[in-house]
């Protein structure tokens, strides 16, 4: 039995769901194959979405016309704004999800999407002929054909779960795993690595002594992730905080040799970004206590997630050490923490469109590319979905650069530098993060999403209205001046800011630039501003207040773009370039950078190599006629 599609998506996790939706919304007849229909967009680890850099990714996916933000807004149990005092660029949202509702809603969205078919099936083989993907075959014996296939297998390829000395073949949460696909990828010449990640125990809601814990409430009047959501007015759940102590640490130290990570049972590297409690004790022996967040997994669930104590220790040790923690003295573990090992692709085998370099039409996205995190997966998913559709239609791929989006930083890092541990997005990875704020993700990406065809009329209207309102208010602030009248001086003095000099007149924008003048204070100076919508005024405040810094960052971007604009022609034979170091030749031939800028970011390519490359390209460029002839020939 066989069927034809335009795009086949293997997997329906966070990457697969976005990929399938994007492809179908762009008019592709799309098939999404999942190991289990119950497992769409599941959250086997932390039931939470967002946080620094990750929250920006979610907003960017939304601005392009993706689903993740809408899905979490509809199913979240708690929302908090983080880093409120740290600066506009790093402010971000974090949501606690009802992970059951999250998964359910995403499944419904996929099911209702025209042109998209969601089916259960275990892909066991990739069908490739002469370097071109043809489709996939399943363990169940079906064959599906399409010119573009997107692999989003997450942590399910050749997965093995470790709990202390015990280990067994299994996907996360005891689900199925796909082993034969790894072999099939190896057959087609792909290099795979073994990565690991871990998760803490889930405990029974009623077995916790809440009176001993610090409660952590959501924001009073939270705003959603999506630019389409606005305020979220639903009751919110509480999370709780407690801490490990010296007793906890003693027990863990005494059993360290039994943890799968340290007994030698696991060889793959784990993410530095979410270390197990064992790893934290090893790395930071002086720290007296570690924070534990207790988070509900759903409104209607008995399970509570213990963030901060991910572990691969044996079951009885988990019981023992958790019960030393205040509030958890009588805790009952519903599911033990475990480490999971899985196969991932070495991401330098894909290009910036997320298509593999060796198999035309094969795209990969998500944890299979060596990342960790739902948001990172979804971000790649939407790009892979878009580019698979554009590939099928014979259009140029969408490639976002490092100054446009966190998505651009993420993909550029993966395909340029690769990663030797699960890659997590961090604000510190983004050089131009003052421009990559979560508040302006729509300004950066919605016009691009519109051009691609993912942004609906409704979303585009909301976008245009919002920014024309912002512009109008900015103009108004730039045009209206306050003079040195007694009334004005009086207000300024009351607000604790420098009064005007005699004869001085300042625009409201200049006044707002003063660090101590907030929007609320500006309204006291000019009560006429009170009618400005809060969402608009917040945007204006950021844009005006940090204008100088934003301009400085834009200059840095200019410098960055100069090297990005120096294109490197396809199929350049680096070994034929005199003066390049051997390591540089090898790395450049493998990565095949699009530009000098990207080449300079490859590890092992030195500034001297870049000078050689620049000299060589300059010399080549100096003979355009020869080049034109060659192209024709």
């Amino acid at each position: 039995m066989s069927e034809r599609f335009d795009v086949i998506v293997v997997g329906a996790g966070h990457a697969g769901a976005e990929a399938a939706l994007a492809a179908a919304r762009l008019g592709m007849r799309t098939l999404a194959l999942t190991l289990s229909l119950r497992g769409v967009a599941s959250m086997p680890c932390n039931p939470s979405i967002g946080g620094p850099a990750k929250g920006q990714l979610v907003r960017e996916i939304d601005a392009l016309g993706g689903e993740m933000a809408l899905n979490i807004d509809a199913t979240c149990m708690q929302l908090r704004t983080l880093n409120t005092s740290k600066g506009p660029a790093v402010q971000t949202l974090r949501a606690q999800a009802d992970r059951f509702a999250y998964s359910e809603r995403m499944r419904r969205v996929l099911e209702r999407q025209p042109r998209l078919e969601l089916r259960q099936g275990t892909v066991s083989e990739l069908l490739v002929e002469r370097g071109r993907v043809l489709g996939v075959a399943t363990k169940e014996g079906q064959r599906y054909f399409a010119p573009a296939v997107i692999l989003t297998t997450g942590t399910y390829m050749n997965a093995r779960v470790h709990i202390g000395e015990v280990n067994f073949e299994s996907g996360p949460r005891g689900e199925k795993t796909t082993n034969r696909l790894s072999a099939s990828l190896r057959d087609h010449g792909f290099e795979l690595v073994r990565f690991k990640t871990g998760t803490p125990a889930r405990v029974r809601r009623d077995s916790i002594a809440y009176e001993k814990l610090e409660p952590l409430a959501g924001d009073p009047d939270p705003e959603g992730f999506s630019f389409m959501t606005g305020k979220i007015r639903r009751p919110q759940a509480l999370c709780w905080i407690t801490y490990t102590n010296s007793r906890t640490h003693e027990i863990i130290h005494a059993n360290m040799h039994r943890a799968a990570m340290y007994s030698g049972a696991i060889t793959g590297p784990g993410p530095r970004y979410c270390p197990s409690i064992e790893a934290k004790l090893k790395m930071f022996p002086d720290k007296e206590r570690h924070q534990v967040f207790i988070e509900p997994e759903g409104w209607d669930s008995e399970e509570m997630y213990l963030a901060g104590v991910s572990t691969s220790l044996p079951r009885e040790v988990q019981d023992q050490f958790l019960r030393t923690i205040p509030g958890l003295e009588n805790v009952e573990i519903l599911r033990y923490g475990y480490a999971i090992e899985y196969d991932a692709l070495v991401p330098t085998q894909i290009d910036a469109s997320l298509m593999t370099k060796s198999v035309v039409g094969l795209f990969t996205a998500g944890q299979v590319n060596g990342t960790t995190g739902y948001e990172e997966a979804a971000a790649q998913g939407i790009v892979a979905g878009i580019n698979a559709a554009r590939f099928v239609r014979g259009e140029e791929p969408l490639i976002l650069d490092r100054s446009q989006a966190y998505i651009g930083v993420l993909i550029d890092d993966l395909v340029t530098k690769g990663t030797n541990e699960p890659y997590r997005m961090l604000t510190s990875r983004a050089e131009y993060r003052l421009l990559l704020r979560h508040d302006n993700a729509d300004k950066r990406l919605t016009p691009i999403g519109r051009q691609i065809g993912l942004v609906t009329d409704e979303r585009y209207r909301v976008f245009e209205e919002r920014w024309s309102a912002v512009e109008a208010v900015r103009e108004r602030l730039g045009a209206s001046r306050v003079g040195c009248t007694e009334a004005v001086q009086e207000v300024l003095r009351r607000l604790g800011t420098q009064p005007l000099r005699p004869g001085q007149a300042l625009t409201l924008a200049e006044l707002l630039k003063r660090p101590e003048i907030t929007w609320a204070k500006l309204v006291e100076v000019d009560p006429g501003l009170a009618d400005v919508d809060e969402a608009i005024s917040r945007q204006v405040e950021i844009e005006v207040k940090y204008e100088g810094y934003i301009a400085k960052q834009e200059e840095q971007v200019e410098r960055f773009r100069r090297l990005e604009a120096k294109a490197i022609p396809d199929g350049l034979d680096y070994f034929a370039i005199p003066g390049l170091s051997r390591e540089a030749c090898e790395k450049l031939s493998m990565i095949r950078p699009r530009s000098i800028g990207q080449a300079a970011r490859i590890s092992g390519v030195s500034p001297a190599d870049i000078s050689v490359l620049l000299v060589y390209l300059h010399a080549r460029g100096g003979r355009p006629q020869a080049k034109a002839v060659a192209t024709r020939g």
């Binding site: 005092s85 660029a89 790893a279 720290k287 963030a307 810094y549 500034p607 190599d609 000078s611």
Partner: protein, 464 residues
């Protein structure tokens, strides 16, 4: 530039001109060993010997006639100075022999190296970073022993090391800032703005020190611009010639014979000087016109050091005071030195009068005719310009490019301090710190963001 140039084999005489005990002819490039084999007769075949071996042999001409006996060093890529195959032929030092050996190599297919080309190849092959490569070029071009010393120090990476240490400090600050931002719920200790400001100020001070050295560095490389001024016939030109040790400027006892500004280079106190003799001016009743106000003003404005010359055999003239006044006004930045010339003649000029004129400026009594006091004049001139920065252990910035990068870094660090002082959110500080890192990276040639990430995880305990 041709893309293929790097494939050539280049050759040059590597030892300084003149007769030495040993002279070296050096070749670099893929053909180096093969060419040497055709030119050197030896019991061992050069193409067969292991890398970094020394072979005894005879250099022969195309007719097989022996030009010289030589030791040949064969060094194969990549562990060589240029990163290419390198052959050095150590001959007996006669310039004639060296020329003949070089000619043989060129005959067999090597190409004469351009100045600095070995270093350029070393840089292109990733054997030297930019600062080091530039230092070698300075070493090659150094005009003075002290200049060579500084270039050698830079070659060892002292500037790079100091700048790297500053980058480390900035990376630390960024890492802390960003750890707190990336892990807001980990209970990390927040960045203390006061502490950060203090660390930024320390960095600015350090850069100031390097920049102060930059002046001295330029002086070592380009020479000190010394303007010699004074009223007509005090002996400016003869003093210039005495310093140069030869008769370059036209000297006559008739005032006003120096027609234009004469520039000469000389090594004074181990330091290269560019000496500018402001032309003497025809005698006139108007003292202001007599000293050539405009010309003197220009010379003084462009000088590092001004030498006012007085005539010890005459009483102080009004023009002498005019000159001093002019220097005081025009040469705000320049240092000043007074030479009382003609001390071989009976002294008329009074010490007290000289001191009144000189004020804080040092005074040296000299005779351009007998050479008396000239050594002291040289020393005083060198000391005046270098001040405390002249100690040979100081790290001197000799490149305009480095100086510019340091100045940019300094501005960015000051901006960062300003951001903190204004009470703005700390993430904004990272925009400036990023800028400073980039600027300092231009001196050492490194990239940024990966390092910060690595540091965060080395220093802070974070994670879910």
């Amino acid at each position: 530039m041709r893309a293929g140039t790097v494939q050539d084999t280049i050759a040059a005489i590597a030892t300084p001109p003149g007769e030495g005990a040993i002279g070296i002819v050096r070749m670099s490039g893929p053909g180096a060993v093969a060419i040497a084999e055709r030119v050197v007769q030896s019991t061992r075949r050069l193409s067969q010997v292991p890398s970094h071996s020394l072979v005894h042999g005879k250099v022969v001409d195309e007719g097989g006639r022996v030009l010289d006996e030589a030791l040949v060093a064969v060094m194969r890529a990549p562990r060589t100075y240029t990163g290419e195959d390198v052959v050095e032929i150590h001959c007996h030092g006669s310039p004639v022999v060296l020329q003949q050996v070089l000619a043989r190599l060129l005959q067999e297919g090597a190409r004469p190296a351009e100045p600095g080309e070995f270093t350029k190849r070393a840089f292109l092959n990733g054997k030297l970073d930019l600062a080091q490569a530039e230092a070698v070029i300075d070493l090659v071009r150094a005009k003075s022993p002290k200049g060579a010393q500084i270039a050698a120090m830079q070659l060892e990476g002292r500037l790079s090391a100091r700048v790297s240490a500053q980058r480390e400090e900035i990376l630390d600050l960024l890492a802390h800032l960003q750890a707190v931002i990336d892990y807001p719920e980990e209970g990390l200790v927040d960045v203390d703005p006061g502490e950060m400001k203090r660390r930024l100020e320390r960095l600015v001070d350090e850069i100031d020190q390097l920049l102060a050295g930059a002046d001295a560095g330029r002086i070592y490389r380009d020479g000190i611009r010394l303007a010699i001024v004074g009223r007509p016939n005090v002996g400016k030109s003869s003093l210039l010639n005495a310093l140069l040790g030869e008769e370059r400027a036209i000297v006559t006892p008739i005032a006003g014979t120096t027609r234009d500004v004469i520039e000469e280079r000389a090594l004074l106190g181990g330091i290269p000087f560019t000496l500018a003799d402001t032309a003497g001016v025809r005698a006139t009743d108007d003292p202001v016109e007599a000293i050539g106000v405009e010309r003197t003003r220009q010379a003084v404005a462009g000088a590092d050091l001004v030498l006012i010359v007085l005539d010890g055999s005459e009483a102080l003239a009004p023009e002498d005071l005019e000159v001093a006044e002019l220097v005081r006004q025009a040469g705000a930045g320049a240092r000043v030195l007074v030479a009382v010339n003609k001390c071989d003649l009976p002294r008329v000029l009074e010490q007290a009068a000289v001191e009144r004129l000189a004020g804080p400026w040092p005074v040296v009594w000299v005779s351009a005719v007998t050479g008396e006091g000239l050594a002291r004049l040289e020393e005083t001139a060198a000391a005046q310009v270098l001040g405390q920065g002249g100690a040979p252990s100081a790290i001197l910035v000799t490149r305009a490019r480095h100086r510019g990068a340091l100045a940019a870094a300094r501005r960015a660090l000051e901006d960062a301090g300003e951001t903190i002082a204004r009470g703005l959110p700390l993430d904004l500080v990272s925009v400036d710190l990023q800028e400073a890192l980039e600027a300092l990276g231009q001196v050492t040639g490194e990239s940024v963001s990966e390092e910060v990430v690595a540091r965060i995880f080395a220093q802070f305990c974070v994670g879910k």
